[in-house]
Subunit: 376 residues, 2 copies
């Protein structure tokens, strides 16, 4: 063994040759996805072309075209959701969106063990959002990205930009290594309350990096399983918030559950209340029925919404989750399973429609009443 | 450092004394629960007295008295569920139980990395069950315990005792390191089909030993959270069975979901069907709607049953999960949250009652029709 590899100082093709032949037992030839793609079965070739390699660091294939609507890619190139003018044309103008909350994409920094790096990425996202989006379009509002794996750094970022009137919430991925009711996260909620910002949990990054496996039964195999496991991850966070007493420690805190579905909450709330009746002696700080905390502190966005077998069940379950106070419309633009505002939900009576499509969000985010004319 | 510690060969109080005084930097005084209990806050003293230390190896406090009904402990001593005569008096005779399926308790062997040891314990449970219970009471049937962490050993145990007419299912904990649809487990399903035995997943051991954390968001803090997370673990197994194609590989296999609740299944099935519509190109072996696989292959036991806000929702959701074909009564005797057969469910029409309280189980387990007289 050499103490220093002097060959390295010489360009590779000028290094001295060996006279006697040798055997080398570890030579890395390139076997990346680009090299091997033609050798994969055709079905996987197509999937990889659409969604990338789907290996750790984005482990599952996605839906649509690259996870986005096929027609949301700008004609001049660039990724879906990168062009403000196209966003206006396809969504903000067309559907009369008075205010739109930007939630970004690619939450991989929420799964890295390097919390300083995560914090740097979050800060960069926040700066970019302010400069390239919020300053150019008055209908848009921003979400403060934070390194939730290091709550002190996270709270500093909330203090840094959370006071801006165009920043209306704090956002994290649902993928986590600890449920969000754990006291570990308290510095984040102190900062949220300080700036009157809801804490929003958006699905994503389950089972990646330092986050826990997708389910309580371990890692799942397929993207469809990951999607079907998302209500459960959100449910775990919700139970954690309630039973670890976060809303007793932070009575002003509001929490938004985003993109994990909606109607599963009804039987889940029944279960929370039922278990609480039998076991509340073990969590005496939980002073109210879990469903009361839910009603007061939790808001839920609509997309993706479960299809029910009939309208009656839909109405019953909407009532069970106090939808008139808790439900807020969202489209998920420009993702492949985007809900158009005119087709996301069945026909609702005017008051409920107005609550879900405007008032609940206006109240939560402190947004003004409608100023635009009604479209013909 | 000595090469051998010769002092160890001499009894401790006869070892030679040291002349010069020393400092020892690692002396383990006893700090087990028995020693420190008086120093704990009173509330924890009470919990530990009721449920044991609630540290890894049984991490959470439980409910009732030691997790059991207070009056299920035999007068002469012994644990709840240890005395056949008391079980007859309190449950089998009182509630006219024609057949009762024994499911044992304490599934810790399902969470140890030592699969040979796990297999030995399972075999011991099976032998004990046959000798002490099944041979003494003709109304009882047994469940084959298996070391699911080593599917080959597990399948050998199924082959060893699964052919007995008094063994009617294979049983495992829901706590797992891999969802049960993973091909890793195929040798178990081959053996189940060979002996025409349902594969039953009973809640328990989530987050313990080698099993995954309780939720997709990591470990939970309180027992009540563990209980509220159980539907999700079962949901993960169910999605895995369907989307990994187990029922295509084993068309005769039936699976029983036990003690994870019931009504959450309705919105979950809607979600499975909905996602399948959008993503089935990625799992082409899933030829039917997920809810159709559910209806054909899955059976669900009743306890603990979610309380609904009104009867209408209850009826709707029962229909959504095809309860008439899929739901089977169970009591969970003698656990603290036991459901008495006369109070487990609201009043049902005769046919539905008969399906849930008798026929669905009789069909699944191959049990004869009623032979007892109706009680007055």
């Amino acid at each position: 063994m050499q103490t220093s590899n002097t060959d390295k100082k010489v360009p590779a093709d000028q290094r001295p040759k060996l006279k006697r032949s040798i055997i080398d037992c570890d030579i890395h030839h390139a076997t990346g996805m680009n090299a091997i793609k033609p050798y994969l079965p055709r079905a996987y070739q197509e999937l990889v072309k659409q969604y990338g390699p789907a290996l750790p660091g984005g482990m599952h294939f996605n839906g649509g075209v690259g996870g986005r609507m096929a027609d949301a890619y700008p004609e001049g190139g660039g990724s879906a959701g990168s062009d403000l003018e196209l966003m206006k044309k396809q969504h903000l103008d067309r559907y009369n969106v008075e205010y739109g909350i930007l939630t970004g994409e690619g939450y991989a920094m929420h799964a890295t063990p390097n919390y300083d790096y995560a914090a740097a990425i979050c800060r960069a996202i926040n700066e970019y959002t302010i400069e390239h989006w919020l300053s150019r379009e008055s209908r848009l509002r921003g979400s403060v990205f934070i390194s939730k794996q290091e709550p002190k750094l996270a709270s500093q970022e909330i203090d840094r930009v959370g006071g801006r009137p165009d920043m209306v919430q704090v956002i994290v991925s649902s993928g986590a290594s600890l449920p969000y009711g754990n006291r570990f996260y308290d510095p984040i909620y102190e900062a949220c309350v300080r700036h009157n910002l809801p804490f929003t949990i958006h699905v994503g990054l389950e089972g990646e990096g330092i986050n826990s496996p997708h389910t309580g039964a371990g890692y799942v195999t397929h993207y469809i399983e990951q999607r079907c496991a998302r209500p459960a991850v959100m449910a775990a966070h919700l139970a954690s918030f309630i039973f670890d007493g976060v809303f007793e420690r932070f009575p002003a805190l509001k929490v938004v559950l985003q993109e994990a579905g909606v109607l599963w909450l009804a039987p889940f709330l029944w279960k929370l209340d039922q278990e609480w009746k039998g076991l509340r002696v073990q969590t005496p700080w939980v002073r109210k029925k879990p469903s009361e905390y839910f009603r007061e502190h939790i808001r839920v966005t609509t997309q993706p919404f479960e299809e029910t077998p009939n309208r009656e069940i839909f109405d019953h379950l909407l009532e069970s989750i106090y939808a008139k106070e808790t439900l807020m419309f969202c489209s998920d633009y420009p993702h492949w399973d985007y809900d158009s505002p005119s087709q996301a939900l069945p026909k609702l009576d005017h008051e409920l429609w107005d609550s879900i499509y405007y008032q609940n969000a206006a109240k939560l985010y402190g947004l003004p009443q409608r100023q635009t004319e009604e479209m013909k």
